[in-house]
């Protein structure tokens, strides 16, 4: 499996997502891919939506909640601070209520609702995916590399987007029906037409946002989704399951990259039995990965002698991955 296969695929689509179970190397591969593309003269943004994001760690620079931070020529990185995003959003809602009704403060009941709503766990996911729409729509980068949250969250969001979409369709219809009744009453009373329904406008806006954010994940023309796997039984099984679910939500899966492969040359040398066993085990699972994912396996990345942090290490990894 030539490394060039991966580089061809990576160049084809502007939205590149790295997904997989936690701790397998999503962030590392995102950073290395960003590095390589930026070296090719492309403007790249690597961003993470994970509240426990580790882009700051890998680039050895605190970028949390600071917007896009320039790492090197052509390369920016961003970690979204969901919390402050939600706070700003709440404030926007409060201000709107004050402006609309000329209140001096938000009524207690309504304030309680705003507080309670923001404590819901789903709030964070929605806020994050909503922020992603802004990043991708307003950004002027050639490539957006998306260091995804662990699989569960992404699936949860995708399914939520589907439910949301149907929900909005339903209430939009309800809203339109309401407008019809009002019109009937107006005609009979010979009153002039009522003002435009603001809520209907909002609903249409919301629908647009939700479609935009889920289509970023599912756009065949623009998105390529890469899975990170390691040669271990449990990971292979879990990845297989996740891939099926993702396929069901129409996420375009571009392929799989195997991480942490212990070089087989080591087995020829005088190494402890322990390591030899590991190598044999990995070879077995590599065969399994080959038969499970076939020609969708794009590259194998060796276990490195040290962890990847800082630009020199990222550069080294980028060279291994993309040549």
């Amino acid at each position: 499996m030539p490394a060039s296969q991966l580089s061809t695929l990576v160049k084809q689509k502007p939205y590149l997502m790295w997904g997989g179970k936690g701790g397998l190397g999503k962030t590392t591969f995102s950073a290395a891919t960003g590095y390589w593309l930026s070296e090719q003269g492309k403007k790249v943004l690597v961003f993470s939506v994970d509240p426990q994001a580790s882009l700051s760690d890998i680039f050895k620079q605190d970028i949390f909640g600071k917007g896009p931070v320039k790492i090197k020529d052509n390369l920016w990185a961003q970690e979204i601070d969901a919390d402050s995003h939600i706070k700003a959003y709440q404030q926007e809602i409060r201000q709107k209520i004050l402006d609309l009704y000329g209140f001096s403060e938000v009524p207690e009941e309504v304030e309680n609702y705003i507080q309670a709503a923001s404590a819901e766990p789903a709030m964070e996911e929605s806020a994050i995916f909503d922020a992603v729409v802004d990043i991708v729509v307003t950004g002027s980068y050639d490539y957006y590399i998306y260091d995804l949250v662990p699989l569960g969250h992404a699936l949860y969001y995708l399914s939520m987007a589907k439910v949301y979409d149907e929900w909005i369709n339903k209430i939009t219809r309800l809203r339109q029906e309401m407008a019809e009744y009002e019109q009937v009453a107006n005609v009979m009373k010979r009153q002039k037409a009522s003002e435009e329904d603001q809520i209907l406008h909002e609903l249409q806006y919301i629908k647009g946002r939700i479609n935009a954010s889920s289509s970023i994940l599912t756009d065949r023309q623009k998105t390529a989704f890469f899975f990170v796997v390691v040669p271990e039984e449990m990971i292979i099984l879990d990845t297989q399951k996740a891939a099926e679910l993702f396929a069901r939500f129409e996420v375009p899966i571009a392929g799989y990259v195997v991480n942490r492969v212990v070089p087989t040359e080591l087995a020829q040398q005088n190494v402890p039995e322990y390591l030899k066993h590991r190598i044999t085990m990995q070879q077995r699972y590599l065969t399994e990965i080959g038969s499970t994912f076939g020609n969708q396996v794009l590259a194998q990345v060796p276990e490195l002698e040290r962890d990847v942090t800082g630009l020199p290490a990222i550069e080294q990894l980028a060279r291994i991955m993309y040549g």
């Binding site: 709107k96 609309l100 009941e109 609702y113 709503a117 819901e120 949301y164 309401m178 009937v184 010979r190």
Partner: protein, 88 residues
């Protein structure tokens, strides 16, 4: 405003016709609309009654527009009901 008596007659006749024929209908239409308004708030703002219906990120966007209706809506939703409701 001095009015043409014929015009006044027409206008009165129109009001009478409205009262006889369509007043009930328009009242019905408005009532249906009000019920739907409450249903709408229930679907979007269910959390206010402790009935979370959907993740609230986007429903917060709608909140400002329904603030005035919230108190009547709550009263209506939480009101005790009995047999006379069904008869009425």
């Amino acid at each position: 405003m001095p009015d043409n008596p014929l015009k006044r007659l027409f206008s009165t006749a129109r009001d009478v016709m409205y009262g006889m024929a369509s007043h009930d209908m328009s009242r019905y239409a408005l009532r249906t609309r009000a019920s739907m308004e409450h249903l709408f708030i229930l679907i979007t703002m269910g959390d206010l009654l402790g009935v979370p219906i959907l993740p609230p990120y986007y429903s917060l966007r709608l909140l400002p527009y329904v603030v005035p209706q919230i108190s009547t809506w709550k009263r209506r939703m939480l009101r005790e009901r009995d047999i006379t409701d069904a008869l009425g």
